[in-house]
């Protein structure tokens, strides 16, 4: 009962060990096609770009879906799926005609009914979309290629809204998918974009695969940011998510991948030194950091104390700590993306000369009584982690009592929604950022709203600011729009909706046999070729 049994057991284990790999293997034959292997900035956790604002889902949707209008490199909306459009003289009726040959990935033709359903679904979730839908009287579809949108009053941001470049982007999907409840995820990924999503190859947390859509009909113009012709020049795009930055960098250097979306700026010298690797900044507008205060509870229910905090914000300090290399950041006081048409210095007298001493004085004058400031420190995102540390140190030096609470992104998103006082699970400060495309005007800029309860987390309340924003949306004359935008920024700084702690530009890194990358606030993979 002893030795024979051991032998039997060993043999059994041996057989299992050999059979296991063969039976469990997920076969994956190497194909003689052109493949672009990408390391994305995050893991694709879900596939519905209307259900979530996550940038990674937006990037995914850009590959497989298309939009009616799209932003070009000058941030002007250009027709994409739309061929021609007209506006009635009273500016209340907009008529759009779709291009020929547009088809969904399952072969059905794209119809105006599909597009109307998609717009409605987007309008239910997106801030700018909600604003648009509030002035929409109704939609009509006189024929399969024509969409008619009737407004209650003239609205100056129609094309900017439906050509919005970043989350949530009004992507088009078949009516049967667009009819899904906006608070539930769509069950499958069917779009009309230049690539198709390969559902069977998706390994959440690790790999996503896109295959060229042979039936896509690109526009004739050259690509310009999100607009123009979207020609897929590779047969496959593979996303390989590698969470550890060192590992990701080495994978690129060794040629195991072709493109690395967000290398940490500190690793750029190593990348540049590696043969065959190119480092470049593709996003002209960059990202802007936001320091958000909670207007509901002390001490930041006091405007003068909020202004004291603004006085401590030294963008150079923040950027040095968070980004390091001056090549990848700039200080820019505008609340609208630096490099965008509405960039302005209006109202920035308060923020242009940061000084701890002055802040200390302002604090005493405002009657600060020592109430502790609770900062939610988001530790898993390097930028916000660094910003939290800098804010804590500077506020302490200015005389505030500070309590740093470390937590991950998931917890921050729960905590920041809490309107209770900090002692009961609320908060006083958290940090976040927006890409330039998301803050280019007073309406798309969620952080600059002051609708009180309806505003973004922090809940600033100011009727004058809200009126100015509404006026901006209604204004159709560009000069008037600029004037109103300046007024909005001035007022926003005065009541301190938030603080701007700097602008940075994420470089991308890729192998030198990759060409055709488009300069844009969002990374696209059409037009990209890989020479093997």
């Amino acid at each position: 009962m002893t030795r024979p049994s051991i032998r039997r057991v060993v043999r059994l284990l041996g057989a299992v060990a050999v059979a296991l790999p063969l039976t469990l293997a997920i076969g994956h034959k190497a194909m003689a096609q052109s493949v672009l292997r990408v390391i994305p900035h995050a893991d694709l956790k879900n596939i519905d770009p209307i259900w979530t604002t996550a940038y990674i889902t937006r990037n995914h949707a850009y590959l497989v879906m298309d939009t009616l209008f799209a932003m070009d490199a000058n941030l002007q909306p250009q027709p994409q799926m739309v061929d021609t459009w007209t506006v009635s003289d009273d500016k209340k009726t907009w008529t759009f005609v779709l291009r020929d040959g547009l088809k969904w990935h399952d072969g059905a033709p794209v119809t105006s009914q599909d597009c109307i359903a998609s717009l409605k679904r987007w309008g239910a979730r997106d801030g700018m979309g909600q604003q648009l839908m509030s002035v929409v009287d109704g939609f009509e579809a006189p024929d399969a290629k024509t969409i008619v949108m009737k407004l209650k009053e003239p609205y100056g941001l129609v094309l900017e809204s439906i050509g919005k470049i970043s989350s949530n982007v009004p992507f088009m999907m078949p009516k049967r998918l667009a009819d899904t409840d906006p608070f539930k995820q769509i069950p499958e990924v069917i779009g009309s974009g230049p690539f198709k999503f390969s559902a069977k190859d998706w390994v959440p947390g690790s790999k996503v695969v896109y295959v060229k859509n042979e039936d896509y009909v690109p526009r004739k113009e050259p690509p310009s940011a999100a607009a123009g012709g979207k020609i897929a020049k590779v047969d496959r795009v593979e996303w390989h998510y590698i969470p550890d930055p060192s590992t990701a960098m080495n994978a690129l250097i060794n040629g195991e991948v072709d493109y690395y979306e967000t290398p940490p700026p500190d690793l750029v010298p190593v990348l540049r030194a590696a043969p065959g690797v190119v480092v470049e900044i593709l996003d002209p507008l960059g990202s802007q950091g936001m320091l958000r205060m909670n207007h509901l509870h002390p001490p930041f229910d006091n405007q003068k104390i909020r202004q004291a905090v603004l006085k401590t914000i030294d963008q150079e300090e923040y950027m040095r700590a968070a980004i390091g290399n001056p090549e990848f950041y700039r200080t820019c006081l505008s609340y609208y993306a630096c490099g965008s048409p509405l960039e302005t210095l209006a109202g920035t007298e308060l923020t242009s000369d940061p000084s701890i001493e002055a802040a200390k004085k302002m604090l005493t004058e405002a009657g600060y009584d020592g109430t502790p400031v609770v900062i939610l420190q988001m530790t898993d995102i390097p930028i916000t982690n660094a910003a939290s540390l800098v804010t804590a140190q500077r506020l302490r030096n200015a005389g505030f009592k500070v309590e740093l609470q470390a937590m991950d992104w998931a917890t921050v998103t729960s905590r920041r929604a809490v309107k209770e006082p900090p002692a009961k699970g609320g908060w006083n400060i958290f940090h976040t950022w927006w890409i330039g495309g998301d803050i280019s005007n007073p309406v798309v800029h969620t952080g600059i709203g002051a609708g009180g309860d309806k505003a973004w987390f922090g809940w600033p309340k100011d009727d004058k600011l809200e009126q100015l924003r509404r006026d901006f949306a209604r204004a159709t004359d560009p000069a008037k729009q600029k004037e109103l935008a300046d007024a909005v920024q001035t007022r926003a700084i005065e009541i301190v909706t938030h603080g701007n702690f700097g602008t940075w530009f994420n470089p991308v890194a890729y192998r030198d046999n990759v060409s055709g990358l488009i300069k844009s606030p969002v990374q696209f993979f059409w037009n990209v070729e890989v020479k093997r």
């Binding site: 930055p245 700590a321 470390a406």
Partner: protein, 264 residues
């Protein structure tokens, strides 16, 4: 064993006398001085925020040692209590051992991460999260000893003579548990320090405001190719300390009870 004790004493001294060892404020940010290699001014270099690694490593000893010692003491104390109960009270034995088995079945790291997500990251919760998975093993150890001792003739004689339970525990059972428990405590200490490092590495450890060897290394992981000193110095410190504790444990085991030495 002497080596082990020596290392441990060295680390403890470093932790205790930290402010007097030429250190600067370990959490002071200094972005201008970021990522400096080890040199005359900053002996171990600086990290990505300009903080001095030498100071952080020295102060970090406090946290890592605190975690290790607290986990060791707590797990032994709680394990002892539960083990005694299980060994003596038949009724509770079955239930307690099932619960302990269940706890042991859940991988320690995962249990710790989940516990920390449950109550938020703070030094206290980290210690508790690391201690809990270590308890079942101590309970088993104590229970086994209690069960064997119970059968001993002199214990049966004591019961027959009418000695009360607590006295029996105190006089006969406890002394037999001390040696193995001390040995177990040293292993728990070493294991706890390593677990703390792994938890920080995964992003679920001690809050980053307080430097611990684990979270210094975790923060330095992106930079390991350009500034390896961020990981190197705390890593060596941790390895030396855990090494010291383990060697100490081995030595204690060999001297205190050669019988168990064979079993380990």
């Amino acid at each position: 064993m002497v080596l082990g004790a020596a290392l441990l004493v060295l680390m403890t001294a470093m932790a205790a006398f930290a402010p007097w060892l030429f250190t600067t404020d370990p959490i002071q940010l200094n972005p201008i001085e970021r990522l400096r290699p080890p040199g005359a001014e900053q002996w171990f270099g600086t990290d990505m925020f300009g903080r001095d690694i030498y100071s952080r490593t020295v102060y970090g000893a406090r946290i890592s040692l605190a975690v290790g010692l607290a986990a060791a003491v707590l797990s032994v104390a709680i394990g002892l209590a539960i083990g005694l109960l299980a060994g003596y009270v038949r009724l509770l034995d079955a239930i307690l051992m099932r619960v302990m088995d269940g706890l042991m079945a859940i991988p320690g790291i995962l249990l710790a991460i989940a516990l920390i997500s449950l109550s938020g990251a703070s030094l206290g919760t980290v210690i508790i999260a690391i201690t809990i998975p270590e308890i079942p093993r101590v309970v088993r150890l104590v229970r086994a000893i209690v069960l064997t001792i119970r059968e001993e003739p002199y214990v049966e004689a004591a019961i027959a003579a009418g000695t009360r339970l607590p006295l029996i525990l105190l006089r006969h059972v406890l002394p037999n548990t001390i040696a193995p428990l001390i040995v177990q405590a040293t292993y728990v200490c070493g294991s706890a320090m390593l677990t703390e490092a792994i938890l920080s590495f995964l992003g679920a450890g001690t809050p980053p405001e307080i430097p611990s060897w684990g979270n210094i290394m975790s923060e330095g992981r992106t930079y390991f190719q350009i500034s390896p000193w961020i990981i190197f110095f705390p890593g060596v410190a941790l390895a030396l300390t855990v090494l010291g504790v383990n060697v100490l444990g081995d030595g204690l085991r060999d001297t205190l009870d050669p019988r168990i030495a064979r079993k380990m």
